[in-house]
Symmetry: C2
Subunit: 384 residues, 2 copies
């Protein structure tokens, strides 16, 4: 992309609000340079020009780029090697809450290459008012996938987001923080150190120019980027009003794998996740390996269904088990009596008893058969 | 059904083990009277006769019926008005762990009619080693559905089963306990009072004749009845080895609605439920109303998706919200400055500010506009 186009995109990014679908459509149709020219001439048919008129004064895209560069911040646009092509999926989605479209460009802070990082990546998002349960699970999932080289994308908010970034960092894995303000700012302020750490090893990303403050609308625009940058989104806890559900919606719109971690049905922060699992076809995940299986090429991380530890009696045939079931704990009984109890033929029972004795399940005495010590039932009783 | 057939079924029930698919098939093909004759003559080609030979001695079906009657216990068979026709679904399923087929008859204790009770019913089952969370949720779900007249079917075991029966009883609703031993016995013994209470208002049901003891195999046979008697099965907590998963499997085989209550992913007793939700297409339910919706005729208990409480700002247009977002908390600013911050045209912003002032969201002063007291953001900050 030409320098002129890049500068126009810096300018348009400042003029419009992020995720204004009108601007995205104009740029897709006409190119950033012409749209910028039109807006400067205050003539367009979409109302964008009148909206952004007040912001035209003092616009200095070249200066913006230069100042950013001095802060170690770069601006990437479509066509750059680092640009993740999958962001174009946003141009094929309808707007949601008035936000939509691919970003015109992204401001980046950090040593990693964005395309490398998101090539294998998963968004881990959830409530700011998370529980210790949610924070624990988010951190473990993030650490597990990051340890396998899958980047954890999140929004650096309190609660689940923070746990996700921390989990990835603790596993010395890749992580990407996508902000609703300039990448030079810390929002929330308490996460200044966390963001600095993310910027040291991974990437801090924003559609907003350095210095810009977050607003409600910008969080909604930001959420679409979290969803679109990653291969899938895991929602760990989300109350019915959580912004994480907005991210989940964007994951569905962009055909990303939508995943949800269930929790107690008595816990409000899990209510939104249960709704995703029930009504929005989100995949239920309980651990990092579930997530890896869903966002990896088929077969790369396939798991077997969970199996309990085998007990010795599991390896017995149905008949042998039926006989073992009938053998009394203490008072020995003759084989004929066991045949009656088990409802099996005498010879069948006698053959089974021999096998069970060889296996150490029963012992024989002069008065008949009883359980060996190792087969004594536990306190739970005979239920299987 | 003739008295002869009924007596033959009492006898066959005693001779064979419950859920022996060979016996079910023979009776379906030949009728109980002829199968009983064959077994008494110790001739059949399936091996059943040799298995049950030891039990032929002392068989007294007429005496069984008489003694049961004196205890207030009755024996119902297919064709009786009280017989639930849907049990025939079991004859169309393959055996599971060697058990299968419709029961030859059922022993009942209690004042309710079995067909009435199960006409609208749901099985609520789960781990014996349940958590307080699981017990609480099972009890609440059972109470909710039972209060609507839906019978709660369960197995009277410790943990979830007990909570399910208790929940239904507490709501003065119908409940059915299906046992793996005679209906005159209490298993577990600690539930003698619970079972007596169930038998006072609902029903205690078993395939096994009075006096019979429970065995592992009989629990497996019993589980198929819990599933087949009800319209659907709710699994509340089930570790990977829980018998409740066997009941769940039977619910799937008989095309009953299979439901699961999620729990913390860190809780072993929820692991089996999560597997049902993930891999076996169980429906996720979080409360009694979810269950009612799934087991009731379409439209009878339809729920709307959960909605959070509306906030006043929810009713604002997108533009008005965008302007409200830009209004500072304390230091008033002129409308022109807000146009720049919001990225909207001056006239648009001024019109929005008038509406926001009328709505009590912002106040105007000589220096410009600021938020009204009621619009001050909470501690959670600007994120939506």
């Amino acid at each position: 992309m030409s320098d002129e186009e890049r500068l126009a995109r810096v300018a348009l990014n400042r003029l419009g609000e992020p995720g204004d679908p009108r601007l995205a459509t104009l740029v897709a149709d006409l190119g950033a340079v012409r749209v910028y020219d039109y807006l400067r001439a205050e003539r367009d048919a979409t109302g964008v020009a009148t909206d952004v008129a007040a912001r035209l004064q003092g616009l200095d895209p070249a200066g913006d780029l230069e100042r950013a560069q001095r802060q170690g911040i770069r601006f990437v646009v479509p066509g750059d090697a680092e640009w993740p092509d999958r962001l174009a999926d946003l141009d094929r989605c309808p707007p949601l809450h008035g936000r939509g479209g691919a970003p015109l460009g992204l401001w980046l802070r950090g040593p990693a290459r964005l395309d490398d990082l998101v090539h294998r990546s998963v968004a881990v998002v959830g409530s700011r008012s998370a529980t210790t349960y949610g924070v624990g699970v988010a951190g473990e999932i993030a650490a597990h996938v990051a340890a396998e080289g899958v980047a954890v994308v999140s929004g650096a908010a309190f609660g689940i987001d923070q746990a996700a970034h921390r989990g990835a960092l603790a596993a010395r894995g890749p992580t990407v923080a996508v902000l609703a303000c300039g990448v030079d700012r810390a929002y929330p302020a308490a996460h200044r150190e966390l963001l600095a750490y993310v910027a040291e090893t991974g990437l801090v990303v924003s559609e907003l120019a350095p210095g810009c403050a977050p607003t409600k609308l910008r969080f909604l625009a930001r959420n679409r980027l979290i969803a679109a940058l990653a291969l899938g989104a895991v929602v760990v806890e989300a109350a019915v009003r959580s912004g994480a559900l907005n991210t989940a919606h964007w994951a569905s719109l962009t055909n990303r794998v939508l995943m949800g971690v269930p929790g107690p049905v008595t816990s409000a922060p899990s209510e939104g996740v249960h709704e995703l699992l029930r009504a929005r076809d989100a995949a239920l995940v309980t651990r990092g390996s579930d997530v890896l299986e869903l966002v990896s090429p088929s077969g790369a991380f396939t798991q077997l269904p969970p199996r309990a530890v085998d007990r010795p009696a599991d390896r017995l045939s149905a008949t042998d088990r039926q006989v073992l079931d009938a053998v009394p704990v203490r008072r020995p009984v003759p084989a004929e009596s066991l045949a009656r109890t088990a409802g099996l033929a005498g010879p069948t029972v006698r053959a089974a008893l021999e096998r069970l004795r060889d296996g150490g399940f029963v012992v024989a005495g002069p008065a008949g058969w009883r359980l060996a010590g190792s087969s004594l039932p536990g306190a739970a009783g005979p239920e299987p």
